[in-house]
């Protein structure tokens, strides 16, 4: 009884999920985030490497993006089905052996580069 009834609620998010591009840890993505300032809305971009995807195939699924700007690294966690995400662009597919790339936090410069998948 339970699984079937819960899918009624989750159904409306299924369509949104099917429109998302496929990406995983190691890929470089550009996330377009809607930001509300008063009653104005604008779009901010956040581009970086995907460190991980968590709680896959649930409504609470999130992904972490790491971006290094001026030598300072910023990590942001986005709920993948959030209505505040306008669009996700996949810029580059990365070649990695792990699902979670926390080792990138300790690396700098050329060592922190992810090879492109060919």
């Amino acid at each position: 009884m339970s699984k079937g009834l819960i899918s009624i609620i989750e159904k409306e998010y299924q369509e949104r999920r099917s429109q998302l591009p496929e990406f995983k840890a190691g890929d470089t993505v550009n996330v377009h985030v809607k930001i509300k300032e008063g009653d104005k809305e604008r779009i901010q971009q956040f581009q970086g490497a995907v460190l991980q995807r968590r709680n896959k195939n649930t409504n609470g699924e999130t992904f972490t993006v790491r971006k290094v700007s001026n030598g300072i690294a910023i990590e942001r966690v986005f709920p993948i089905l959030s209505p505040n995400i306008d669009k996700i662009e996949v810029i580059r597919k990365g070649k990695v052996r792990r699902a979670r790339l926390f080792y990138l936090r300790g690396l700098k410069g050329k060592a922190a580069k992810i090879k492109e998948k060919r």
């Binding site: 339970s2 009834l5 819960i6 505040n84």
Partner: protein, 206 residues
């Protein structure tokens, strides 16, 4: 109607109007049947008895069979009385979730919490334990400590928090927001967690 009976379905999460992810519990509510109308003249107070969830006729006692027959309905498993009805309902009337609840309002939810068995004071009453692992503490990390004074009062006070059975008790969670009401499926989505396991009976009060 001041409330309805339902069954816990499970949890999921949805996004609210601000784009925030909210953990929610899905409850199958009703449709409930009015099986008895208590009146001021006859019973001394005003209330409605609601019944929910089908039950086999062969598992119903003769006394209860007669009770359900009076309301011209089939036997039901759960019977709950709700006081102070806001309008008049006839015997045998069907009450649905969409008649009672609307999106955005706040409700209280009553359920029976999951039984945890015999638990110590750290889990049961959020005691801190001893707090040290060294300085002579070798067998009392999760103990309650002192339970009273000495020759006065020379006894342990009643109601002192101690180890014992935890859970499996009637629990009420107040001020939960109704996120969604699905009229056709008789489902109500409520923000936050509610007591009890899946498929356990739930009373939603307004």
């Amino acid at each position: 109607m001041p409330g309805l009976i339902g069954k816990k379905v499970g949890m999921t999460s949805v996004f609210d109007e601000n784009g925030k992810s909210v953990a929610c519990t899905l409850i199958k509510v009703g449709p409930c049947v009015v099986t008895q109308v208590r009146t001021l003249e006859v019973d001394g107070y005003e209330a409605l008895q609601l019944a929910y969830d089908e039950k086999k006729e062969k598992n119903t006692s003769k006394a209860l069979k007669g009770h359900f027959k009076k309301a011209s309905t089939t036997p039901k498993r759960k019977l709950v009385e709700f006081q102070f009805p806001d309008q008049k309902y006839d015997l045998g009337a069907e009450v649905k979730a969409s008649d009672v609840f609307s999106e955005g309002e706040f409700v209280d939810v009553v359920g029976k919490s999951k039984g945890k068995g015999f638990q110590g004071v750290v889990k049961r009453h959020n005691f801190g334990g001893v707090g040290q692992a060294t300085h002579g503490q070798h067998n009392r990390q999760r103990h309650p400590g002192a339970i009273g004074a000495c020759s006065y009062p020379a006894r342990v006070f009643k109601g002192l928090k101690m180890a014992g059975r935890m859970g499996n008790a009637r629990t009420k969670v107040t001020n939960l927001k109704v996120m969604k009401v699905l009229a056709e499926e008789n489902l109500v989505l409520i923000s936050g967690a509610i007591p009890g396991s899946r498929n356990s009976y739930i009373i939603i009060e307004k």
